[in-house]
């Protein structure tokens, strides 16, 4: 091949790169290893992860949940045609991904109770950032009222990106686990942001947030647990203008936090400000139903600095997987999973009533997780529980990184615990025993 180019050495291909910046000795990295040797390196990593779900019973939630992912979803979702495809720029040879995304959009639209859903964003946290940008684009305002019931990491991500957009982020404190909307001045707000359930597991009455949005002519953005839609009211039913959510519960393993799936839906009147891709139905030149990415004029590669968002690569594979998982669950299955989460969580809550040194953070209704106080620092209790092979939940102060307006006092002793449909009664009973020992 070099001869065809009239060259006698590969290095001549790089002759035009100034010598002054060239690497003289190559990269300062070890030489390549065989696959079995690299597998051994990775075995070292996996062995050192003592908290993996095969070795411990997982009661941790806080936005990442241990749900059933059946073989059929794993196998279909790992088909190499989906895994090794690129963004569907040539629709004639990308109908597989495009139709799966169309089905995904339909499902997200139904789960959210809103007309329009996009083809995915990175995760729940960054989906919320996009929702705020949509709100300021819609009404030209920049004051964002965010309930402290929104996941602490999401709130932190929002503050990070506000450095660039200049949004004013006003966090609204919780009182006994419920957002105290009356504690803030909502005038001039661009968006009212709430979480349903909130990150402490509590299901708040969303009509208060909705009223506040209406009276201030702000957008109502609701971050909702998509599993909850199997039982609870949808974002649309609460009157939300924008729904964002974390789609990990639909077929994606815990994965140490990623890749997950940012769910995004909105009312039809906001469609021109929609971030990311959207797939639409059309016909081909032979009048056959076809799918294609559409409303492309919003996107960065066409509108550049005036685009609604900079998103290009999204989380398509997770979106396709979510569609497969939801197809597996079906109408009844989604309701059944939601119901079992609620049953298991309530059972644990009731059983903890007998444990000395433990008390619920709040007596408000919850769905699939709740928080409780212990007589010791949460990290210490969780460490002791881990010695008995139970991942006992998440330390709330670890999530918030210290004091936070969501739990005004004693935050270091608060544990957030979650029960999914994968937890059997015997495991929950064991949890109670192990916790009792840990707080003794």
């Amino acid at each position: 091949m070099l001869g065809f180019l009239g060259l006698d050495s590969l290095s001549h291909l790089f002759d035009h790169i100034p010598q002054a910046v060239r690497l003289a000795q190559g990269l300062d990295l070890a030489p390549g290893m065989s696959e079995p040797d690299v597998a051994e390196v990775f075995e070292g990593f996996t062995k050192a992860n003592r908290g993996q779900s095969s070795l411990m019973t997982c009661f941790a939630g806080a936005g990442a949940y241990d749900h059933e992912v059946p073989a059929v979803v794993k196998m279909l979702g790992s088909r190499s045609e989906f895994v090794t495809a690129y963004t569907p720029y040539q629709p004639e040879v990308a109908q597989g991904v495009l139709q799966a995304l169309f089905e995904y959009q339909t499902l997200v639209s139904r789960l959210s109770g809103l007309e329009i859903a996009n083809a995915s964003l990175y995760d729940g946290a960054t989906a919320l950032v996009e929702a705020l940008n949509m709100a300021s684009g819609a009404n030209g305002r920049s004051k964002m009222l965010i309930s402290a019931g929104v996941h602490p990491h999401w709130r932190e991500v929002v503050r990070t990106f506000a450095r660039g957009t200049g949004h004013e982020i006003v966090e609204v404190a919780l009182r006994d686990g419920i957002t105290d909307w009356s504690s803030v001045d909502a005038s001039g707000a661009s968006a009212i942001v709430a979480a349903y359930p909130n990150y402490l597991g509590i299901i708040e009455d969303m009509s208060l947030a909705k009223k506040l949005a209406v009276s201030n002519d702000a957008l109502f953005i609701l971050g909702a647990d998509p599993i909850a839609a199997g039982l609870l009211k949808t974002a649309g039913a609460w009157g939300a203008d924008v729904f964002v959510g974390e789609g990990q519960p639909f077929g994606t393993a815990l994965s140490f936090g990623g890749p997950y799936l940012g769910l995004f839906a909105c009312t039809a009147d906001q469609v021109r400000r929609l971030p990311g891709r959207i797939v639409g139905e059309t016909v081909d030149s032979n009048n056959r139903r076809s799918f294609v990415t559409t409303l492309r004029a919003r996107e960065q590669d066409i509108r550049r600095e005036k685009a609604t968002s900079n998103v290009c690569t999204n989380q398509t594979l997770m979106a396709v997987t979510a569609a497969i998982q939801l197809g597996w669950l079906g109408t009844k299955g989604l309701r059944e999973v939601a119901l079992r989460c609620a049953q298991g969580t309530r059972y644990l809550f009731d059983e903890l009533g007998d444990v000395d040194g433990v008390s619920p953070l709040s007596n408000e209704p919850f769905f699939r997780e709740f928080a409780f106080r212990t007589n010791r620092p949460a990290t210490q209790v969780l460490e002791r529980m881990a010695n008995d092979a139970v991942l006992g939940g998440v330390s709330v102060s670890q999530l918030t990184g210290g004091s936070d307006v969501s739990v005004p006092d004693g935050i270091d002793n608060v544990i957030l615990v979650s029960v999914t449909e994968r937890r059997a009664r015997a495991q929950i009973d064991n949890y109670v025993d192990v916790l009792r020992k840990a707080v003794r």
Partner: protein, 507 residues
């Protein structure tokens, strides 16, 4: 140089069966059918009313679809057969780096010891993950010549915005309010979109007639209000910015920073490092350079590496090595804060580390050399058919132009791209970069063989011959694909983005 062996990367034999439409999942639904099975829990049941106050209950069940497992498998398997992929055949989509994704990397990442770890696991119980992240950070820094890196950004564009927020934090820490970021007119669209979200204004500078940054134009645009410049090098026309040291000096002279868009990092692995060229901030697209599969449009991963003076601003927490040899989370002193809900696209990061370990320093250099060799071979091989927009040695991709075919036969670049699908190859990137008329951007990557490149060249020659003999057939292409050319205007005019908007007839 011709080869008589058959190509391994041509997909024209693939039975993309049939031309009928696949029903949607919802159209296949039959009331009462289901596929799910959940474990027996033995948890005492409470009535719904006891569990959830009536105020919160939904009025009706969300309609998903009611299908059997067999129907579910049939549906998504047929959809997968209607999809082109790297595994099926060559995918010379310029700028996107659609190289073969080694299966080994997927396999090591799929271990439950990695994917079964909850992201809020106490650090003593996820030491393996922390070590993996620290190792990857070190290797990415060695490859780019930088001193620290965040692994949180989920994609290239997320990395860009993170980098711009770092730029902003750096200038603000110096009490230095700056307003503008310079971008060449050949840049990816994500660059200007990210600049706006970073709170800066875009100043676009024109490329010179060699397809490179015009140094005089750049100097004229520079000033004390310039926060920095975003550059892709090699740039989006596949050419190396030969005056990079002069560019870096000029930007640094006004106190600006240099941002390296790593979309094309695969071209320079082991040859030259962004840090040595004077860049301060570098994002990498692990799904391009380090071959993690692209998933039909994601997930990717867009780590951002920085020089020492910017490390204190990186998003936290970051995995770090303790003095006792263990690992912990640490947040840099003046961190801009999290840019991801957890720790980034961790499973993608694990795959990228496996790829780097298998290749090593020597292997990564060969990746760049062969990618550049393949692109130059293809450019030279097609010289008579589709001349390059800039006729000289390119890097990992070549931008060819269909202006001659358009002038002679009224055949456009898009027609050639569509006809190539009929020939069993994915199309190149069309009409990008914007500065080249009728652009066809080919990136063969290092993983395609000489035989495949020759077959690709012959396919393009056949298409060029058709342009002369039967140009209308190109405008009707493709016909052998699951659907023929789709009506994009109709999709935008009359938005149907969900099954519920489609108002299907029930006949």
């Amino acid at each position: 140089m011709r080869s008589t062996a058959m190509p391994g990367g041509r997909a024209a034999s693939a039975p993309l069966l049939g031309h009928e439409m696949e029903p949607t999942l919802f159209e296949m639904s039959v009331p009462g059918r289901s596929a799910y099975q959940l474990r027996t829990t033995g948890v005492p049941e409470r009535s719904l009313e006891e569990l959830v106050p009536a105020l919160h209950l939904g009025d009706v069940d969300i309609a998903i679809a009611e299908v059997s497992e067999r129907d579910l498998v049939g549906h998504f398997t047929r959809l997968s057969h209607r999809q082109f992929s790297v595994d099926l055949g060559a995918y010379p989509l310029g700028s996107c780096t659609m190289k073969y994704n080694p299966k080994f990397c997927d396999a090591v990442a799929a271990d439950i010891g990695l994917n079964g770890v909850h992201p809020a696991t106490p650090e003593a119980l996820c030491q393996g993950w922390l070590e993996l992240l620290v190792t990857l950070e070190q290797k990415l820094c060695a490859i780019t010549g930088m001193s620290a890196a965040t692994l949180q950004p989920a994609a290239g564009a997320a990395g860009e915005l993170t980098g711009l927020l770092l730029m902003r934090a750096f200038h603000e820490a110096n009490g230095d309010a700056r307003r503008r970021v310079i971008i060449p007119d050949s840049a990816h669209g994500t660059n200007p979109a990210s600049v706006t979200l970073g709170g800066y204004e875009v100043t676009t500078i024109k490329s010179n007639d060699r397809g490179l940054v015009d140094l005089d134009e750049l100097k004229a645009a520079l000033g004390p209000d310039v926060a920095g410049i975003m550059l892709t090098n090699p740039n989006t026309v596949g050419l190396f910015e030969e005056q990079i040291t002069e560019i870096a000096a000029a930007v640094h002279d006004v106190g600006g920073l240099l941002y390296y868009d790593g979309a094309n990092l695969n071209a320079i692995l082991g040859v030259v490092r962004p840090g040595d060229m004077g860049f301060d901030i570098v994002h990498m697209n692990l799904h391009k350079t380090f071959a993690t599969p692209h998933g039909g449009g994601g997930p990717g991963a867009g780590p951002v590496a920085v020089s020492a003076r910017l490390a204190q601003f990186l998003p936290g927490p970051m995995a770090a090595r303790r003095d006792d040899g263990g690992f912990e989370w640490r947040t840099p002193e003046r961190s801009i804060g999290r840019v991801h809900g957890w720790h980034g696209n961790a499973m993608v990061l694990a795959r990228a580390l496996a790829y780097i370990e298998v290749h090593g320093g020597d292997g990564l250099t060969r990746v760049a050399e062969r990618a550049v060799l393949n692109a130059n071979w293809l450019r030279e091989r097609l010289r008579a058919t589709l001349p390059a927009a800039y006729d000289r040695v390119c890097m990992h991709e070549c931008v060819l132009s269909a202006t001659q075919l358009k002038a002679k036969f009224a055949v456009r670049g898009l027609d050639i791209a569509k006809a190539l699908l009929e020939e069993g190859f994915h199309s190149p990137t069309v009409y990008f970069p914007l500065i080249v008329d009728e652009a066809l951007m080919f990136e063969p990557t290092e993983t395609e063989s000489l035989q495949t490149l020759e077959a690709l060249a012959q396919a393009i020659e056949r298409i060029a011959a058709r342009a002369a003999s039967d140009p209308d057939s190109l405008k009707r292409a493709p016909q052998s694909t699951p659907v023929s050319r789709v009506d994009e205007a109709r999709a935008a005019r009359q938005l149907i983005a969900t099954e519920d908007a489609a108002h299907r007839s029930l006949d």
